[in-house]
């Protein structure tokens, strides 16, 4: 018998708009030493499935309507609360997505780690402080924390994101669980850190023979780590099977759609750029922010050098990709070019005009010619404005439309970005993430700009939606003859869309070149590492790639 056997699980949510079947008739099993990946887009019920096993769902609105979940022969869905607490501490552990919010900022790492040992619900397993400390240090060492003895007393803010996720893993493992549930454990991390964490999970699983349920939306990650895959959509299982059969021999249309949506390979459109005519010239741009924490410590004024001397040209008609990990300064660079972040030094020339010399009033006509698309479609639209108001605002502000032509123009814009005109009186919260991003794109192209800076425009979207938005962007660039700076941490996306790529690290551009040339032959060691860390959505290739690292 398998370690965990879930049978016909049903979890419903009672909401204002009626009953939502979050999980509907889901069955699966996991064995010790096995990794089951649950794959699906947001809202597919993959997290709800796992949280319902551990009684971590808020009830109400959640109701477990039926099914069984036998863990070692014991039904998790009907066991008592004290017993569940015992199971959660001892036998089943969870690693959450965001390592930044999963640790208590006021308690040292070590203290948080040994907590489950010294306050163990099972009296016979309570350990002394000293013993617990030794055990914790041993584990910190195992998950790859350097100098664990000294780091034991550090607080969460002294660790980087990747290190915190390691601490979370150590915390999950401290009671030797038999089942480990990982809920998108690497989604919030950079690609190089992601590779390290995945390797760590894989290694720990093999040495300890635990069963792992790995929840993810990233098929590349899943291809490398899973033995079995469960594809979920709208609360139901669309397909289940071992990893190779899912990836190479899928029978299900939804799975095929997911696989097809992964951006892969080179750009199909021809490069329309005119090499000798730069639209934007950036020279030695520096954007510093004062760093109060360091200034207080040393007495002098210290700066965070977000952008530290960048020179680049954006050619008319090209899509220039800008890649880098979090904190590399790529977003700040984008905002500095648009004069939305205060630059400390250097110049930005747009179509022959020096933008730095203009005062805020004088920049207004230039703002019409350059626009921005933001990452989070939930934060980038004013929740109190309808689609119509959002789209008409730039037109009216720049006097591009009068009260007669405005309706026609908004209609045209909505048509351009693939929204039905009947939805124009709706508010942002009535739309899905992909539709919101369409609205945001509509706002950006409203003034018929020449330059668009897109800051991670597809990072917050599901993979199938991401593919649609990327195609929309490519289509609009082509039709409206746009020039674009495309900022992203996702290298596959950048490769799919860009003519030319720049790699940014610690505020400077370390390498640039035509996309395919750079992919084939990266010069810098950092670029090589970055490219090697991309997971491939192909189990055999992915396993070969991991083995070669």
């Amino acid at each position: 018998m398998a370690l965990l056997e879930v049978n016909r699980l049903k979890v419903y949510f009672q909401t204002r708009n009626g009953l939502v079947k979050a999980v509907d008739d889901v069955s699966f099993s996991v064995d010790a030493g096995e990794t089951l990946a649950i794959v699906g887009e947001s809202g597919s019920g993959k997290s709800v499935t796992c949280y319902s096993l551990l009684d971590l769902l808020p009830k109400p609105p959640a109701v477990i309507e039926g099914g069984t979940a036998l863990f070692d022969g014991e039904d998790l869905l009907t066991c008592s609360t004290p017993r569940m607490r015992q199971l959660r501490g001892n036998d089943i552990a969870v690693i959450f997505q965001d390592p930044m919010t999963s640790l208590n900022p006021f308690i040292s790492i070590g203290e948080q780690l040994i907590e489950p040992l010294i306050y163990h619900p099972d009296k016979t397993r309570i350990q002394g402080r000293k013993q617990a400390r030794l055990r914790a240090i041993e584990l910190l060492d195992e998950v790859g924390i350097i100098d664990p003895v000294a780091r034991f007393d550090c607080y969460p803010h002294e660790f980087s994101g990747g290190m915190r996720q390691r601490v979370m893993i150590a915390m999950a493992l401290i009671n030797e669980p038999r089942l480990l549930i990982c809920d998108e454990p690497t989604t919030a991390l950079d690609v190089t850190i992601q590779a390290q964490i995945l390797e760590l999970i894989k290694k720990l699983q093999q040495t300890r023979d635990v069963a792992v349920i790995f929840i993810s939306h990233d098929l590349g990650v899943v291809a490398g780590i899973a033995d079995k895959v469960l594809v979920m959509c709208d609360g139901t299982i669309r397909e289940a099977g071992d990893t190779e059969s899912i990836f190479y021999n899928s029978q299900n249309d939804y799975t095929k759609k997911l696989l097809a949506a992964i951006p892969e390979g080179a750009k199909v459109l021809t490069n329309r750029s005119e090499p000798d005519k730069p639209l934007v010239e950036v020279r030695d741009l520096k954007t510093y922010f004062s760093d109060y924490s360091k200034a207080a410590a040393s007495g002098g004024k210290k700066y965070i050098k977000a952008v530290d001397g960048v020179s680049l040209d954006i050619r008319r008609g090209e899509i220039l990709g800008l890649v880098g990990e979090s904190g590399s300064g790529k977003s700040t660079l984008g905002r500095s070019i648009l004069q939305l972040a205060p630059t400390s030094f250097g110049t930005v020339t747009f179509d022959g005009t020096l933008l730095d010399d203009l005062n805020p009033k004088q920049t207004v006509p230039w703002r019409r010619r350059m626009q921005m698309i933001f990452q989070d479609p939930y934060a980038s639209l004013n929740p109190r404005m309808t689609v119509y108001q959002t789209l008409s605002e730039p037109l009216l502000y720049h006097g591009l439309a009068d009260s007669k032509s405005i309706d026609q123009q908004v209609r045209q814009l909505m048509d351009d970005v693939g929204l039905a005109y009947g939805q124009m009186r709706k508010y942002p919260h009535e739309f899905s993430g992909g539709q919101r991003q369409r609205i945001a794109i509509g706002r950006a192209i409203a003034t018929k700009p020449e330059l668009i800076i897109a800051d991670e425009p597809v990072s917050a979207l599901d993979v199938t939606i991401q593919a649609q938005i990327l195609d929309l962007i490519l289509d609009l660039v082509e039709r409206h003859n746009l020039t674009m700076l495309f900022i992203s941490h996702d290298l596959s996306v950048v490769r799919y869309i860009s003519d030319r790529v720049m790699v940014m690290n610690k505020g400077v551009i370390i390498e640039s070149g035509d996309t395919e040339t750079l992919w084939a032959n990266p010069q810098q060691e950092y670029t090589q590492r970055l490219l090697k860390a991309i997971p491939l959505a192909d189990p055999r290739l992915e396993r070969r790639r991991i083995a070669s690292l």
């Binding site: 648009l338 939305l340 989070d376 929740p383 404005m385 720049h398």
Partner: protein
Amino acid sequence: MINQNSPLFLAMRRFRRHRLAIFSCCVLLSMIVLVISAPLFEIWLGVSANQVDLYSRMVGSSLQHPLGTDELGRDVFLRLLYGGRISLFTGLTAACFAASIGTVIGLSAGYFGGRLDALLMRLTDSVIALPLLPLLIVLAAIDLNKIGLPEAIVQSEDVSFYRIVLIVALTGWTTVARLVRGATLSLKEREFVMAARGIGASDRHIMFRHILPNLLSPIIVAVTLSVGSVILLESVLSFLGLGIQPPMASWGNMLTNAQQLIWEAPLLAVYPGLLIFITVISFNFLGDGLQDAFDPKAEY
């Protein structure tokens, strides 16, 4: 055409499910209707609110005096209605004035930041640090004649009312200012504000078109909750004899009068006290209901 799914409409829909708040809302509305129609009652009962009738002092309730009379033979019911006019009107206007001042100060401090922020917030801190009651007593005691106001205003009956509204507005804006500043600080970093700046929108446009509409819900809640406390403050001042001046009635000065007769005619103290209690608690329930309704996390 009203969109059934606009954020305000949704909030109203959530509000409708808050029974206590709906009940309070009804209580307050009927109270407002009653105090507005006070002159009608005057005609109907055939007596006026300030009419002294020493032959029928402190009589019990009758058809002519539904709640009896006070120590000067004035009709208690009518005086309660007129007192309610003053108390409710003071509460609402003072709270709205205070909220407007607070919004402007908080919005500018939060949006522009830097020195202006520091200056305005220190000002706020200083106002908060002022010992409110002694200050109010001093302000209420100022002889308006001596600061050069025209005789006509000083002599007019309403002057004590305006004085109270002004005093409360000038000292009561701090809560809203801090609230608005905090919300503005987080809103101005949101990407839709960045997008508006990208369009080239002016500071004024961003503040009033993009930030202010998103601040409305916390401001409305704060105003509602502060109406109650302003009514209490007015009663305290009037009770101390520094607020609304007799013969004009307010719930506070009716309590003062009743104080000396607490053994002979306890009901004279009970009626205004009860009304203050009901009004303040209704405003608090209403505020709670609005708060829940506007809470973006209250999705189901």
